[in-house]
């Protein structure tokens, strides 16, 4: 870390002068760092959005459950009352209600259209259960005893895959960031290696006059680290601007409109430029050490 900060010191150092003015490799490093930082901002945004989505689904779905009551018509009223009584006396259940026919019609409308005569269909009576910290297994057993036609569905069956998908999406975002860092490291390694090879004559002269490898390496490391930092800063700024101008998330917003940073999460992308500089520093140091070892 101390070495990295030393490399990033402001102003021109003696070692800076000895490396000839930048060639295309240095410009390529800036461009690559900028492009990768831009992508990293979006990967980070996706990762954070997926995390929020997973939390939201997990919380929202965990708090609600449904009871389907299928019973002969003459028993339906009694069993519905039994179900509501069981729910009323179940610790942790904060609210329960019978879903009226018009609401059931609305639920079915996307599949069957608006003119469906719901009352003619043998549909089960639905009861919504809201609450947390109740024991689903205990509730299930009580319902089986009090209302044999009731089936308790806490949404676990389809909640788990959704939450799991959101978690994987977050993991994919994090993996993307790691891959981007790897790509930056590879690119800077190649560029630094090419720059060192192109400057073999400079290195020969420097060695002739008593330059240590650390001095020679420092000149290249500093140049490429600063290029990576500058490029990443530009790419991050562009990426953050891109995220900023995305439509804001609202009630109707889906995943895409929720892609962005919220609150202090806007600070996360600011880590990208120093991280890119650190990646550039490590990559160039390794490339310089290898190249100087190989250059006779």
């Amino acid at each position: 870390m101390k070495r990295l900060l030393h490399v990033l010191q402001l102003g021109e150092t003696p070692a800076d002068r000895i490396v000839p003015p930048s060639g295309y490799t240095a410009r390529l490093t800036t461009f690559t760092a900028a492009a990768m930082a831009f992508l990293a901002v979006f990967a980070l945004a996706m990762s954070l959005a997926a995390g929020r989505l997973a939390d939201r689904w997990e919380t929202a779905l965990a708090q609600s459950a449904t009871i389907r009551l299928a019973a002969p018509e003459d028993q339906l009223g009694a069993q519905t009352a039994a179900v509501l009584e069981v729910l009323r006396t179940t610790p942790g259940v904060t609210h329960s209600r019978v879903i009226p026919p018009e609401e059931q019609r609305a639920l079915l409308e996307p599949w069957f259209g608006p003119d469906l005569p719901v009352e003619t269909l043998p549909l089960p009576q639905l009861v919504e259960v809201v609450g947390d910290r109740y024991d689903p297994e205990g509730l299930r057993l009580r319902l089986a005893a009090e209302a044999p036609g009731a089936i308790f569905d806490d949404h676990t069956r389809w909640r788990r895959p959704l939450v799991s998908a959101a978690h994987r999406l977050r993991l994919l975002g994090a993996t993307s960031i790691l891959l981007i860092a790897g790509a930056v490291a590879a690119m800077i390694t190649l560029a630094a290696g090419a720059a060192l090879s192109a400057n073999a004559q400079v290195i020969r002269v420097l060695r002739l006059v008593g330059a240590r490898d650390a001095f020679i390496g420092q000149a290249f490391v500093r140049r490429f680290t600063l290029r990576a930092l500058a490029g990443a800063a530009m790419g991050t700024a562009a990426g953050m601007l891109g995220i900023f101008i995305l439509p804001a998330a609202d009630e109707a917003g889906g995943f895409l409109t929720g892609l962005g940073f919220q609150g202090w999460h806007w600070l996360w992308p600011l880590l990208i430029p120093p991280l890119a500089a650190a990646v550039g520093f490590v990559a160039t140091r390794a490339a310089a050490a290898r190249a100087l070892r190989e250059l006779k």
């Binding site: 002068r17 000895i18 003015p21 020969r204 002269v205 002739l208 006059v209 008593g210 001095f215």
Partner: protein
């Protein structure tokens, strides 16, 4: 200062130098001569640890060259000024910056007056801001000499320093090397120019070594 004991150097399957023993004493002035391709440059490179011997031992400032790390080699080079025939420079730096390069890489700041005096000594004061490609062959050789001595090295090794120069410029450079020797520096010049050697012998107590048939000999009065 530089001590070679039974040194051999082989390259590409053939032996270029064989059984060479030689001590470069402090304050001495030596010429190294021999036909082209005889191994003069290789001999000099062995003396400043650019090459390692394939046989025998070399001690530079009492240190075995084989035991030197890369940083040690850099430290040794700061005590040995080298003038090459091709005198490579950093073309993006000015002449003054190139001359001051050994100081810069050692983490020292060149004193402007000292640099000014040094450039005056080699007759290049007016070219301080010029870039190396703008200099003539003679100017480059003198600049290389200035760069070689700016760290006040103990030894100056020159490899065909007058190879591309006319006679007048060669004598000028030789005079500078003789002056250095009179200041107490040890000088070893590799050259195939016998006239240069004869001119120097009239001014300084120079010993002449010759590489012939892979071996080093002390040249006789035939020079």
């Amino acid at each position: 200062m530089i001590d070679l004991q039974n040194v051999a150097y082989s390259y590409g399957g053939g032996e270029l130098l064989s059984d060479i023993s030689f001590k470069l004493a402090p304050g001495s002035f030596h010429f190294l001569t021999g036909p082209s391709g005889s191994g003069k440059t290789t001999f000099l490179k062995l003396c400043y640890a650019e090459l390692l011997p394939t046989g025998g031992n070399i001690h530079i400032f009492d240190r075995d060259v084989r035991s030197l790390s890369r940083d040690d080699v850099a430290t040794v080079r700061r005590r040995i000024g080298v003038v090459h025939q091709d005198c490579a420079f950093l073309d993006h730096l000015s002449l003054a910056e190139n001359v001051a390069l050994p100081l810069m890489v050692a983490g020292m700041d060149p004193h402007p007056d000292d640099l000014h005096d040094l450039l005056g000594w080699v007759g290049l004061r007016s070219h301080a801001g010029a870039l190396p490609p703008q200099l003539s062959g003679g100017e480059r050789q003198r600049a290389a000499l200035a760069r070689a001595v700016i760290m006040s090295p103990d030894v100056v090794l020159a490899d065909e320093p007058t190879g591309n120069l006319d006679w007048e410029m060669s004598m000028r450079l030789l005079t500078l090397l003789i002056e250095l020797n009179r200041m107490g520096k040890t000088v070893l010049i590799a050259t195939h120019d016998l006239n240069l050697i004869r001119s120097a012998k009239a001014q300084v107590a120079a010993r002449v070594l010759r590489i012939q048939n892979r071996r080093l000999q002390l040249a006789g009065a035939d020079l």
